[in-house]
């Protein structure tokens, strides 16, 4: 993921709330501190399918915004 980011591709990692700090730290560790993190509500496990789709919608909205910013 870090390598893709370095190559200039639109790249992001999906994290649920409690894992945002870990995600930010890891992005720094791998040399891409600006790597976008798409935050979704926790948890991701133990969900019904429509709840999983709800999480995907939350992430997708952020990802579309990211693509628009990238193409400006």
């Amino acid at each position: 993921m870090a390598e893709l980011r370095r190559r200039g591709l639109v790249t992001a990692v999906v994290c649920s709330g409690p894992f945002m700090k870990l995600g930010r730290t890891q992005a720094k560790v791998f040399g891409v501190p600006e790597l976008p993190l798409l935050e979704i509500p926790h948890p991701l496990g133990g969900l019904k399918l429509d709840e999983v789709k709800g999480r995907a919608d939350v992430a997708l909205a952020q990802f579309l915004k990211l693509i628009k910013q990238h193409s400006k």
Binding site: P18, F19, K21, L22, T25, Q26, V29
Partner: protein, 374 residues
Amino acid sequence: MTSHLTQLLNVPGASVEAADDFDAINELVRARGWGDGLPVLPPTAARVEEMLKYCDRPWDEPIALIAPRYGAATPLRLAANAVMAGCRPEYFPVLILAVEAICEEPFNCYGIQATTHQCAVLILVNGPVAKELDINSGHNAFGPGHQANATIGRALRFAQVNVGGAIPGLGDMSTFGSPAKYTYCAAENEAASPWEPLHVERGFPAEASTVTVFAAEAPHNINDHESLTAEGILKTVAGTVAITGANNIWFDGEILVIFGPEHAATVAKEGYSKKDVKQYIFEHARLPLSAFSRENLERRLRQWPVFEGKFAEAGLDARVPMAKHPEEVVIAVIGGSGKHSAFVPTFGASHAVTRALKLRDGQLARSVNDFRRR
């Protein structure tokens, strides 16, 4: 202090100035999040230097990078952590070996550090160095009472946190951790075992000293005071191993079964080898599909690649093995008198790693004193 150590400690960030006061240093350690909540021994330059006397490699050369921070585990940094944990200097070669082992690819250091699972690193020591360092393998081997058990495991944990960044809620996302994260180190009771020691089984000469690391839960007791036969003991063991909530259901990493010497003797006297015991546990430590929730059945058991499609269409009486292969059952003999054994579930997405204590030239170390700098 040697001029070499002075030079290393003068590198920016390599050391901190603190008042020469036990309480003040402990307050500093607490404030920086460097400890485990218990008091630590202040890592003064003099104590760190004593620790480094048992290191035969450059003090500032990383021996491994510890995930998730991928911090450089240099002997200097490890020595400071070993001092804080209360290690005697002669324990240091075993700590270095354990750090190397957890950073090997099959161990999945990133996974075991950052997971929400409660695994800790169990260091199991075999060979002559276990006796030399008085690493307890008998009564209360996993409990308090022996400095080596108490401090080698603690020092590894400090290295995981302070070098590797396994900070609770930041790099260690364990839902609730485990008491085993304070320390988890013991030796195999080779003298009381009817079978070959773990390191010999794993291809090392008997005279080698080794550490085997497991990403392990704390031991779960297996009480059997009545069985008089091998099959009786093994039936109780297999029944304890077969549980729905262990990670081992979902992954192909090893499970660890620790036999108390009395149970081991009962099993071995009927001619059961370790291989036979593994086969028995592989075949009998199983749960029917009906034991699992509907969601686990539909979302995992019928679909996950680890099951190789065996349960895709299977009826509810089909049985799911805890170990995916007989060789994924690891057997060790630990403990003192008593009709007890223990099941140690593991992280599952991690494989146990065994490493031998060797000098820089590749020769097996006969003693920790082989590492001592003249």
